[in-house]
Symmetry: C2
Subunit: 341 residues, 2 copies
DNA sequence: AAATTTTTGATTTACGTACATCAGAAATCG
DNA sequence: CGATTTCTGATGTACGTAAATCAAAAATTT
């Protein structure tokens, strides 16, 4: 059986009350006594039973998710996964609140973050727009000892505790290799559709994609990036225009959301044009397009895993505990039509 | 706050003791009273606080893992993940025991399973060799109300509670499409290296692979399957012989373990021969081969996830609880050189 | 109706921790 | 040295559940 507070008390030759004072950093313990107790804790390898402690404390974890509004399927999925999590909240002792802010809107995000200051929170998770103001607002929360986790898109140089999302540079590189290999040795143009260069995940995907394309597939030329702002209609018109503008386009990489529009644009030129298409985020639209051959591969991050991981990490940080790093690594899923879940 | 046993007692107009008798199926409650209590439980939506119950019971979960011996890296990895789990056992209240049996050995596996009968276990996890005798032995454990989970390779038609592993037909299909697309429109032979057709995962991978190859890549011909018994040395000699036997081989699919040997065989004919190679299981050897270009893609199942998932599921079953299905789905990882973890 | 059996209630202890109170001991101050 | 402050111990209650005991009530049997 693992040691308890009683064992510490016995080992250190002090009373239970003193052990409690040390463990919970309450005042009224002389330095020498405190050290004696801490030595005993280390020696017998005491680890607090979090379940029992939570029971005694009646602990709950108030958590806030800040998510972008917008009607693309990926964000819908993310919101829906947070709602799923709220259904489990009585088991997990969480109290989840969702704030919605306009996408790519720095000041709205900052305002939402600042409004959380002073609240007693076990954690804040946000889809970050990568800007200095946002970073500063996050740092303010962190300095209030509130655990902060970035979701999907990370924040450069901030002090956030954790990032629950994929390695976007690797994702871009992977997309490039898939597209390049699928195209065999063909020569032609590649068009890239992004959401916005204001978010770090999109920038990083592009960076990885461009690097591998340049280094390993010299016969493929990248056209200037289209910014669809993750909006299906805008994406459709941009891609349509690009396709009619150049007949040399043989590949498409969509690194953001709004793929509903992209799929429509590609379908409109089929079957006259042969296109190899790699996109991000598995939704009902991209899934159908993968099945019917409009798309060749979908790169995905599992929103459910991200949300659950973010919650686990925030709770652990709030308790000053560690996490199983490997378990919290969000993986890049690659879906071909054969391995759809 | 969620309702407690006290709330049930008040709602049903009975004492705490009676509620306890109903909840824990203890004798001494009249049918009408029991129904009254059960009605109250449903009405107020009581859910047992598992943490508090475990605390009160001093509950531990004795779990047995039955793993094949053998010196291929994948099984080493699997064993190592179980060891990792034992390190967390004081937190998770598990008591994990590992039994080792020779690989592909039906009677040894049956003997190990039967030896567990009558023991008070919270779960048994095994890498199944797919045979009727094994299925019968598993069914015997299940009929003793011991939760049984198959790991990595499933058992046909058994009553096991859960399978913690990937969809191997999908894995085979995916391998075929990757190999087919990477080979462009080339014509030639494909050689397939398996471990043993006695295990269901290998059979299923082959089935999926063959199906997609036949249906979508008619220019690629499958050579007879080589059975390497997951042994590196045997794999090396089989593949070497095959490569020197036919100069038309342009692709290799290794659906089992022992890839150390396969890699050596491929390297021996490089760079004269151009081969596209897809293998299963990410190990230090396959990782290095992916990096240096010997291998083009690695399909992987995350052993750590499988073990942790198996433990979560066994604990939940032992408590008669449900699981988050999506969380327990083991995903097929596809690794190119760009997205290695 | 009495005797017996079955069912129910009341109460207590326990799990490991948190937290509060009060008295007593030890240290520090004047 | 006494007075004060600081530290420590002893003790009790609580969290939500499990499990046991014993007494009392209700149902059943004779």
């Amino acid at each position: 059986m693992r040691p308890t507070v009683h064992d510490i008390a016995a080992a250190a030759g002090v009373s239970l009350a003193t052990v409690d004072r040390v463990l919970n950093q309450r005042p009224g313990v002389r330095l020498v006594t405190r050290e004696k107790v801490e030595a005993a804790i280390n020696e017998i390898g005491y680890i607090r039973d979090v379940a029992a402690a939570n029971l005694a404390k009646g602990r709950v974890y108030p958590i806030v998710f800040i998510l972008p509004t917008g009607d693309n399927s990926f964000m819908h999925g993310l919101r829906s996964e947070v709602h799923q999590a709220t259904l489990r909240s009585s088991f997990e002792r969480t109290e989840i609140r969702i704030l919605e802010v306009p996408p790519f809107d720095v000041s709205a995000l900052v305002a939402a973050l600042d409004a959380l200051q002073g609240q007693d929170l076990a954690g804040v998770a946000l889809v970050a727009t990568d800007a200095p103001e946002v970073r500063a607002a996050v740092d303010r929360l962190v300095s209030e000892r509130i655990p902060v986790v970035t979701l999907v898109s990370d924040l450069t140089d901030s002090t956030r505790h954790h990032y629950a999302g994929i390695d976007n540079i690797a994702a871009g590189r992977t997309a490039a290799r898939l597209l390049g290999r699928f195209l065999g040795g063909q020569e032609g143009d590649i068009t890239v559709l992004a959401g916005s260069m204001l978010v770090r995940d999109h920038r990083e995907r592009l960076e990885g994609f461009s690097a591998v394309m340049a280094a390993e597939f010299p016969k493929l030329r990248l056209l200037p990036v289209l910014e669809g702002r993750d909006d299906p209609e805008r994406a459709r018109s941009l891609v349509s225009k690009a396709l009619s503008g150049s007949t040399k386009i043989i590949g498409v990489y969509s690194l953001g959301a709004g793929n509903r529009g992209l799929i429509a644009a590609v379908k409109a030129v089929r079957p006259e044009r042969e296109l190899t298409v790699v996109v991000h985020e598995l939704t009902q639209h991209t899934r159908a397009a993968l099945m019917d051959g409009t798309i060749d591969a979908v790169l995905n991050q599992d929103a459910g895993h991200e949300i659950r991981s973010a919650i686990r990490v925030m709770k652990a940080k709030a308790d000053g505990q560690g996490v199983i790093a490997d378990q919290e690594r969000i993986r890049l899923d690659i879906f071909l039509k054969d391995n759809l879940p």
